[in-house]
């Protein structure tokens, strides 16, 4: 991969700030939502600020979709980078109204780039639900309203790359629930890449296409959502082991108030959420909600049991448990790992076979004689619709 590839964000930064050292070398896809995930102090905000040019890494290089922003030959200052940036806490210009803040961004936006977004400014205002706030001053807005305006403002500047630094972190649970649907809509509507910092597994599950896990200034994982979630050695496995599946509503069973959703590896029965057939849903299945049996049980209250093949068994984070990685679907039709589809253009792994994680006791694993290749039934106790 050359450093100037199209479709790729290549970022290398070494930045020392007192005791903290950020030291990363990453290749990220220049499309979809990339989540920078990690605990506070892991360097994810510093990395985002380096991407924006707000922080200047002593040693660094950065090229975004073929454009060089930092290197030995120079440093493009923030105001010359076609980015949008949403700060963690509300950051509206206090002396301007909502409309004034949006105009501030619009009047400085590059004129050539109106095609970088499929949404018009008017549609964006409607999508974020801020039509009625236009004449207000920032101090007259709630935290959630401010953040929605800040998101709209970032997009009014016609960015080629949207950077978001924990946009929900300063909001209470109620406001988070208010804004997340807007972010999901943006994810579906925007054609520009989004790099999103969070330490919330919920936001990661809902929004991510690609995930970078940071720990103490270093990138400890970098891959597609499925790859990072199912890598058994990933630091994600400590507490939050689980997978996210992209599914579509296939049919509903009205007499039971259930619906069937389909995905590549099979089907699941879920509580009816009254959305129309054909709607795309992300569902999350936690490893601790998946138990394994060797044969199909008919005499069980569990609704969802899927045939699967064991890919790998690894020691769980806590003593006495193991984490089992499963490929869904009968053995014969499952695609082997080596045949994963590669993205020919950029070399990024996007499509993984549908995988599932199960956390069971070491005793059970031994009792069932689980090893790579074992055929099992995965009983799924609960599924979270995201």
């Amino acid at each position: 991969m050359t450093t100037h590839s199209k479709g790729v964000i290549n970022a290398c930064f070494t930045l020392r700030h007192e005791a903290f050292l950020l030291d990363v070398a990453l290749s990220l896809p220049a499309k979809g939502v990339t989540i920078l995930y990690g605990q506070s102090g892991s360097g994810k905000t510093t990395l985002l600020r380096c991407l924006a040019g707000l922080a200047h890494a002593q040693i660094g290089s950065l090229s975004v979709d073929g454009h060089r922003w930092q290197g030995e030959d120079g440093f493009v200052p923030t105001h010359e980078r076609p980015i949008g940036y949403v700060f963690q806490e509300a950051s509206l210009l206090e002396h301007l109204t909502v409309a004034g803040n949006l105009r501030y961004a619009q009047s400085r936006a590059g004129s050539e780039s109106s095609s970088s977004r499929s949404l018009s400014n008017k549609e964006l205002i409607e999508l974020l639900g801020i039509e009625t706030l236009m004449q207000r001053k920032p101090h007259q807005l709630s935290g959630g309203e401010k953040q929605r305006v800040a998101i709209a403002r970032a997009l009014f500047s016609q960015p080629k790359l949207l950077l978001m630094d924990e946009p929900l972190a300063s909001l209470d649970a109620q406001r988070k629930r208010e804004i997340l649907p807007y972010l999901e809509k943006l994810r579906a509507e925007l054609e520009i890449p989004i790099i999103y910092v969070t330490h919330s597994i919920d936001e990661l599950s809902r929004l991510a296409d690609w995930v970078v896990v940071l720990d103490q200034g270093r990138a400890v994982a970098n891959g597609s959502l499925a790859d990072v979630l199912t890598a058994l050695d990933s630091p994600m496995q400590r507490d939050d082991a689980g997978v996210v599946l992209e599914s579509t509503i296939v049919s509903r069973e009205e007499q039971w108030a259930l619906m069937t959703v389909g995905f590549d590896g099979g089907e699941l029965l879920l509580a009816d959420n009254s959305q129309p057939v054909g709607t795309k849903l992300r569902v999350r299945i936690d490893a601790r909600d998946v138990s394994l049996t060797l044969s199909r049980h008919q005499d069980t209250s569990i609704l969802n049991a899927l045939p699967a093949t064991v890919v790998d068994v690894s020691a769980g984070h806590s003593q006495g448990t193991v984490l089992v990685k499963l490929r869904l679907g009968p053995k014969s039709t499952a695609a082997p790992d080596e045949e994963r589809k590669m993205n020919a253009q950029s070399g990024f792994h996007w499509d993984s076979p549908e995988l599932l994680l199960s956390r069971i006791t070491r005793r059970s694993a031994e009792h069932l004689g689980l090893a790579a290749g074992s055929e099992v039934w995965a009983q799924i106790k609960s599924v979270a619709v995201l």
Binding site: H79, S91, E94, H95, R108, R153
Partner: protein, 227 residues
């Protein structure tokens, strides 16, 4: 009474000119002080603040020497064909600018510092360059500081005495400001006139400070030295 009116008019003209010039020159100084991290920042800040503690006569004495025919500024003004500045209106303006400098620079510096980094980072991510950020973010957000600075600069210039006496002397209509006129009345034991001027200045000062405090309480943050 005509002499009093002439003195009042001269004082207002002087204070207005000085305030205008100080806002013009004080703004970049305050901006620089608020932004810079160079090692000699402390020295510059101390020089700006000197008039707060120096007896005005000390300042006046040195200014008299530098602006006089043998001083460097005096030599320059003579070479430019302006003559020397002491005992002229513009001499008073220059001296007053030095004298009132901290009363304008400090509130502005405080106001700029109170803005913090964030609004400028926000503006930069919205494609605003450095000058754009100064005019569209720094100036509007520092507005309360500008109001405080203008009021303090104006009021402090009206109230000066020592520097005026050293640099301007006592020339009616040219350098005889209200405070000097008042001194003349008292010297001449003309207490009736002195009462008029003193009472007027007292009332003026109170109104200025009253409006300043009222304004500062209304704007959410307060800037400027605690006068």
């Amino acid at each position: 009474m005509d002499e009093n009116l002439a003195a009042i008019w001269l004082t207002l003209r002087l204070a207005a000119t000085v305030t205008l010039l100080l806002l013009l020159f004080g703004t970049p100084i305050a901006w620089w002080l608020a932004q810079t991290r160079v090692w000699f920042k402390g020295a510059i800040a101390a020089i700006v603040a000197l008039p707060l503690v120096l007896p005005p006569t000390v300042l006046g004495f040195y200014l008299l020497l530098t602006m006089g025919p043998n001083g460097p500024i005096g030599a320059m003004t003579q070479a430019l064909g302006i003559g020397t500045l002491p005992f002229t209106f513009w001499g008073l303006v220059v001296a007053s600018c030095f004298y009132s400098l901290p009363f304008v620079v400090q509130p502005l510096q405080n106001a700029f510092e109170a803005i913090g980094e964030r609004p400028f980072e926000v503006a930069a991510t919205l494609r605003a360059g450095p000058w754009d950020r100064f005019f569209t973010v720094a100036l509007p957000l520092a507005r309360p500081g500008f109001i405080t600075a203008a009021i303090l600069g104006f009021a402090h210039t009206v109230g000066e005495f020592g520097v005026v006496l050293m640099i301007g002397g006592n020339i009616p209509g040219v350098t005889r400001v209200v405070s000097v006129q008042l001194y003349d009345h008292v010297e001449a034991l003309d207490y009736a006139q002195a009462h008029w001027l003193s009472g007027g200045l007292l009332f003026f000062s109170f109104v200025v400070l009253f409006s300043l405090y009222t304004f500062n309480r209304r704007s959410s943050t307060s800037f400027g030295p605690r006068v």
